[in-house]
């Protein structure tokens, strides 16, 4: 099989906080399309890795490549403009704006950032786009609510709509189901599956079971290092992964 160029690649990525080494020498490539999950037990360095590849902070060493282009250390808004969107682990929306305005203002960031004296209503396509996206994530009935009035699961869905508004080719999700009820979790995973039809998804997940059935590839981190990568079947069979992740049952 001919290997296509990866959409995102990490080369020798590492991060230290003072003397604490959170991540060291991770080299991994993410293929275009489908879902890749980054898993690992608590403290494995998943969130650090996520923050590095999403540009939240710069790495101590190593590089991040997007479609072969070096994007290490670029400002967060540059990431967004290149087509990389992200959803944070902690819910991160615009609390006192309406649900519709949350997504509209995000969609606007692509095209009309510095229009100072035209009216917002001069761009009906942005509003339409926002409403369509909100319908897609199941928030079509909440358009005029303030974001902070939504339930936790709804806020996460809203956040994903906000991220999608930028029409990304790559969407990064940090623990999209954290703190959710079982029903909310199921709805979110359905949504994630649907999203994978339109863009590449990389998600960090704590619960391995949740992602096994969905994703094409898995990347396993352990103690700040890359432990294994491969298809769900590969990972399931991987002796090291079984030992550290699934317990002593190997």
């Amino acid at each position: 099989m001919v290997k296509a160029e990866p959409i995102l690649a990490a080369r020798g990525l590492g991060k230290s906080f003072g003397r604490f080494r959170a991540l060291s020498d991770v080299t991994v490539a993410f293929p275009e399309g489908g879902i890749t999950a980054i898993i690992g037990p608590n403290g494995a360095g998943k969130s650090t890795f996520f923050n590095l590849i999403s540009g939240a902070f710069p790495p101590s060493e190593g590089r991040v490549l997007f479609r072969g282009r070096d994007i290490t250390g670029l400002a967060p808004h540059r990431f967004a403009r290149m087509g990389i969107a992200k959803s944070f682990q902690i819910t991160n929306v615009f609390p006192h704006l309406t649900v519709r305005e949350n997504v509209r203002v995000a969609a606007q960031a692509r095209t009309v950032r510095f229009a100072l004296f035209r009216d917002r209503s001069a761009y009906p396509e942005l509003t339409e786009r926002a409403e369509a996206l909100l319908a897609a994530v199941g928030l079509g009935h909440r358009l005029d609510r303030l974001a902070r009035e939504l339930a936790h699961g709804e806020q996460r869905a809203l956040e994903i709509a906000v991220a999608l508004a930028a029409e990304p080719s790559l969407l990064l999700l940090d623990e999209p189901t954290a703190g959710m009820s079982p029903e909310e979790t199921r709805a979110m995973m359905d949504l994630v599956q649907r999203l994978a039809e339109t863009c590449t998804l990389i998600l960090v997940e704590h619960k391995m079971k949740l992602v096994m059935g969905l994703c094409r590839r898995l990347v396993v981190l352990h103690q700040g290092q890359l432990l294994a990568e491969g298809s769900p079947d590969d990972i399931r069979a991987h002796p090291e992964v079984r030992r550290v992740y699934l317990g002593k049952s190997a």
């Binding site: 400002a75 967004a80 615009f94 609390p95 006192h96 509209r104 950032r113 510095f114 100072l116």
Partner: protein, 342 residues
Amino acid sequence: MTARTPSRTIDASAAVPAARPGAGRTGRGLALASRHRVALTLAFLIVFPWIAPYQALAANILVLGLYALGFNLLFGYTGLLSFGHAAFLGGGAYGCGIAIVHYGLHPVLALVAGTGLATLIAVAMGALAIRTRGIYFAMTTLALSMCVYYAFYQAESFTGGENGLRGINVPSLTLPGIRLDLLNPTVKYYAVLAVVGLAVWLFSRLLSSPFGAALEAIRENENRAQACGYDVRRMKLVAFVISGALCGLAGALQAIHLSIVPIETMHYSTSGQAVMMALLGGMGTFFGPFVGAATFSLLQDGLTTLTSHWQLFVGAIFIAFVLFLPLGIWGEVLARLRRAGW
């Protein structure tokens, strides 16, 4: 790189006041009022001299209202608390005054000169202050405005130094086809209102624009706005400069209105006055700055007739507002109307 405020006790990203009256599910009455906010504001300001205690005070309030309005763009709509806006009010006032006293410019050109000088100061101050985040912004703007204060204080041959800039006499205003007698307080009020009205209209356009929407997004959640693709630092700088220009225009009008620019115009306490007016009136509301300016001026006016220590009461009242009425007078009125389903 952007200096990050350590997010500790009170997370900076969660630092959104309890309720913003600017957003929300608005009833039909309030939505209608919001759509015609410029017309309603102007209508009020047109009748205001007839309900104010005396007309000179009305013109004071008008100018201070514009000052608070400009400040509110930054504080109420962008979420940046500046303690250095006196530099812009003063810059506008001195720029206008110097243009008239030293260069004999036409008052309208002097207004432009004043606004221009304030804008330049805002660019310089903003470029430095925007490099800090969160709560550092207040400290940095305060310190930088003190620097501007001392610079104007020292440049005595231009600014009159400690004595202030005197002799800004504009008895009349000659425009093509019309001559306005500015010694008549009523004429003067409406001449000032013409300029303020224009600024209010521009301000409203700005708020309704996509840029205004982006500013609110930055206020609500800076990190998220950045992740959406907004160059937050640049947008903040543009907001800072526009805010400074509006305050500079207010200063230029004030110089003509008072015929003098006291050095105190640039002082820290004048920066604090903008903060007080914005909070008393209601930050992030369109009409709040004028309510705040009126409240502050009437308080000052009323209290000084009773005691020379009026600042004691102003300070205490301000503390009470922070503790018990953080939405301000107009913000509270709007919140109550909204709850009542208007």
